[in-house]
């Protein structure tokens, strides 16, 4: 093999110079790229191995997911990229994907003989950087190095520019066949950026490989630090700058904190004012993926309030959430409005985020927060459910919503939503409703306050799925902790992304964030997963403060712990933390959410991611969900429903709804009507 180190050296020039052997294309990336291929089919495995060797990569093959995971764990830096089959007997490929994303933050390519749209979408939402249809041709493998380069490039850039928004600037090198969502994300992201609130770091949440900015992943620990700081300062006096100082987390930016704070406030608001009506949340919940809000309760640890307060939720979402949650009190609690959007974001399906009047009220009153158990979010039942799930998965963002008393209901979904979009489909709807991370405390469920989840996305949307209001442990934001069924709602990004994050369906993250109305940090997903496996301590570099849902990305990190309701990854768009610099922000949450939903087992964190993703998507979907909701939210989104549609819907919705959202403390924000 070449003299190349195999480590994704970025200099193609050198690598190409290094070898020009045989049929190797000169400017092909690095020979020596260390690939781990996992497939239970021995025939395929052997063929892949041979193909990869022919590409001059260094191949390790493995026929069991468990083995692969332990190999990766033992040697964290031993591989550059992983290729995995979807169907495996011992572990679902998506779970593995989540684990890897969360724990090791490596690019993962999924493959399957199944080319159904839903499966491919699932890959995207779970954070896969690519999806190959079997039978795999060698040409498809020749370019896999691009994912490695891209990821590194993004990380590097994030590093440099923490906090600065760079959308589009750092386009990852798109290789010729980077036809995946990244480009779509970018577009969305850009548009969403416009909506972003003043924070201008638009966190793009695209899937890991194209992540532009590292997203901050609000792991449980981080969130707890945040909550501690907020409490120390006093919720009323807690300003991002001071919180940031108190937290003293390297790489964390003020924007990250601000958006997180937004969400948290929403959450709190929701907790306090929302009555839990399970019914409303159905709206828009994140369709399919939705953040399983479920486990919001598990968020307990997280203290949704904090999440909400962190403002992660985009102002809008917060507002929305608040509005939703409060039903009528409309964001008074001072939660930033954006929640509303957030909710939307989260609940993809929640078109309703609009907490607008009517619906919101409806929702807010009802469900609001049910997502988070107890979090009186206005989210519709679905939402709550989703939140619930998400919450759960999120690892308990514990939005101590309950504790906050206030809003609670609002969209705790923020977190929750993110977490489990799946289960409830509503993902965030719930969370959204709960706006701010208030979630859990009451919820018990980890309503993932997906940061946003509650944010609006789901707010009203929470799909009927019963959102089990996150009764789970009140962990507030626990994002969809696996427990629940996966909120269908795409894990959308917890609230933060408002809907913007959702927009990018696939990439939710981008959209979500952007959608979220600018609210900076739409915390798309509180990554409650908390580091799911404790991954990286949040690389805050990501500045994605607002937008964060890197739903997909984080999934890797987030996912791992989705199970842990506690680990609510509040990803508000923070991409990254978990992942090495991956800014998955949003994704994370969603990932968490999603993963939780999916894999209750292992991946608790994973679900969250998924959910988060869902959330993100949800936000965008929100728009759609609105429509859909009317139709009967409940089946809004089958797991893989057209996220794109949702996204666009949400986006639209967001736009409509959002208007006011950006304001951070929009008390009287009347969230657009979230169709109940």
């Amino acid at each position: 093999m070449n003299s190349n180190s195999g480590k994704g050296s970025m200099s193609t020039a050198s690598s190409s110079a290094a070898w020009k052997t045989g049929d190797v294309v000169p400017d092909q990336f690095p020979a020596g790229l260390r690939v781990l291929v996992v497939d239970d089919d021995p025939t395929c495995l052997m063929i892949l191995e041979k193909m990869l060797r022919t590409c001059l990569y260094e191949v390790t093959k493995c026929n069991r997911a468990e083995t692969a995971l332990s190999m990766l764990r033992e040697n964290k830096n031993g591989f550059d990229i992983v290729i995995s089959d979807v169907h495996m007997p011992d572990m679902d490929g998506f779970k593995l994907l989540e684990h890897i994303g969360l724990e090791m933050d490596l690019p993962v390519i999924m493959m399957s003989a199944d080319d159904g749209k839903s499966v491919v979408m699932k890959g995207v939402t779970h954070g896969a950087c690519d999806y190959l249809i079997k039978p795999v041709r060698i040409e498809a493998l020749k370019n896999i190095w691009q994912h490695v380069v891209r990821k590194r490039k993004n990380e590097w850039k994030d590093f440099e520019q923490s906090g600065s928004v760079e959308e589009g600037d750092r386009q990852p090198k798109q290789s010729e066949d980077a036809d995946y969502s990244s480009s779509a994300n970018e577009g969305n992201w850009k548009s969403s950026k416009k909506r972003k609130d003043d924070e201008d770091d638009a966190e793009e949440r695209d899937d890991t490989s194209t992540l532009k900015k590292p997203r901050v992943v609000w792991s449980v620990e981080l969130h707890q630090q945040f909550v501690a700081a907020v409490n120390q300062l006093g919720i009323d006096k807690a300003v991002p700058k001071k919180i940031l100082e108190l937290m003293n987390v390297p790489g964390l930016t003020r924007e990250n904190v601000a958006s997180h704070l937004q969400k948290y406030r929403l959450y709190l608001r929701r907790l306090s004012g929302v009555s839990q009506h399970p019914g409303n949340l159905n709206n828009s919940f994140i369709s399919s993926q939705d953040a399983t809000f479920g486990p919001l309760s598990s968020l307990n640890g997280l203290d949704l309030q904090t999440l909400a307060a962190t403002g992660q939720l985009p102002a809008q979402s917060l507002a929305t959430l608040q509005a939703a949650g409060l039903g009528r009190s409309s964001a008074k609690s001072g939660l930033p409005m954006p929640l509303v959007d957030q909710r939307n974001i989260f609940s993809f399906e929640n078109p309703k985020l609009r907490f607008g009047e009517g619906q919101q009220q409806h929702i807010s009153n009802n469900k609001q927060i049910n997502l988070l158990h107890g979090i009186p979010t206005t989210m519709e039942p679905k939402q709550l459910a989703s939140l619930h799930h998400t919450a759960q998965s999120i690892g308990n963002i514990n939005m101590q919503v309950a504790s906050h008393g206030a809003q609670g209901s609002q969209n705790n979904s923020l977190l929750i939503q993110m977490a489990q979009p799946q289960s409830r489909g509503q993902l965030l709807s719930d969370s959204v409703g709960s706006h701010a991370p208030r979630l859990p405390s009451n919820m018990g469920q980890p309503i993932l306050s997906n940061g946003i989840a509650a944010t609006r996305n789901g707010i009203p949307e929470i799909r009927g799925s019963g959102y089990n209001p996150i009764s789970q442990a009140s962990s507030m934001l626990n994002f969809p902790i696996n427990q629940t069924s996966e909120l269908p709602g795409n894990g959308f990004p917890i609230g933060s992304a408002g809907i913007s994050s959702l927009t990018s369906k696939g990439t939710f993250q981008e959209d979500v964030s952007s959608e979220i109305k600018g609210s900076a940090g739409f915390m798309p997903s509180y990554d409650i997963f908390n580091d799911l496996n404790q991954h990286k301590p949040q690389n805050w570099e990501l500045q994605n403060v607002g937008m964060p849902f890197d739903a997909s990305q984080h999934s890797s990190s987030v996912q791992s712990n989705l199970d842990i309701p506690q680990s609510v990854l509040v990803q508000q768009g923070f991409s990254a933390s978990q992942v090495n610099g991956q800014n998955r922000g949003v994704g994370v949450v969603s990932k968490a959410m999603f993963s939780t939903v999916d894999s209750t087992e292992q991946g608790n964190g994973q679900n969250v991611n998924h959910h988060l993703n869902n959330f993100l998507v949800d936000n965008t979907i929100r728009v759609k969900s609105e429509r859909i909701v009317d139709a009967g939210p409940a089946n809004l989104y089958p797991d893989h429903f057209g996220q794109d549609d949702l996204m666009s819907a949400l986006l639209k919705q967001q736009e409509g709804i959002v208007p006011a959202e950006n304001e951070f403390d929009f008390d009287g924000y009347s969230m657009d009507n979230i169709p109940v």
Binding site: P42, T43, C44, M51, A113, D114, P135
Partner: protein, 146 residues
């Protein structure tokens, strides 16, 4: 026999396998992977396929014979079978697998049983033909040039 002639025969048979739709492009991918380091790569892969698929076929048989029929398990097996058969370029076999899966999704037991017969049949035919083919390949490889 003359090596050239044998090689010619190998080429003809190979072409007919493609023309008749037994094999597709993926088989060519495998052939291209074969090199001096792995001169028998294709044969090895195909042999591996036989072993693996025999196991799957048996599992499917059992699942089809059990009552009530577990369609999701059946679909799972068949998904795997389809994955590996498509990886070696077994076109007809893969197509029959697709038909089977349709019946499976519709939970049509009769349809499953019937289409599985087709799958087995195509599998058997292909296997026979490939065995003949590889035998010729081996003979050509050791034959002396006249």
């Amino acid at each position: 026999m003359d090596r050239n002639r044998l090689q010619h025969q190998v080429a003809c048979m190979r072409r007919s396998l493609f023309d008749q739709g037994y094999l597709d492009e993926q088989f060519i991918q495998l052939e291209e992977l074969q090199d001096d380091a792995n001169p028998n790569f294709v044969q090895e892969i195909v042999t591996l396929f036989y072993t693996d698929s025999a196991r799957l076929i048996q599992s499917i048989e059992q699942a089809l014979n059990s009552r009530p029929i577990d369609f999701s398990k059946l679909d799972d097996y068949m998904h795997q079978f389809k994955g590996s058969s498509s990886s070696i370029g077994a076109k007809k076999v893969t197509n029959e697998c697709t038909v089977f899966r349709e019946y499976c999704r519709a939970e049509n037991a009769e349809g499953c049983i019937r289409s599985f017969q087709q799958v087995k049949q195509e599998y058997a035919i292909l296997r026979r033909k490939l065995e003949v083919y590889f035998q010729m390949v081996r003979q050509a490889a050791v034959a002396h040039t006249a």
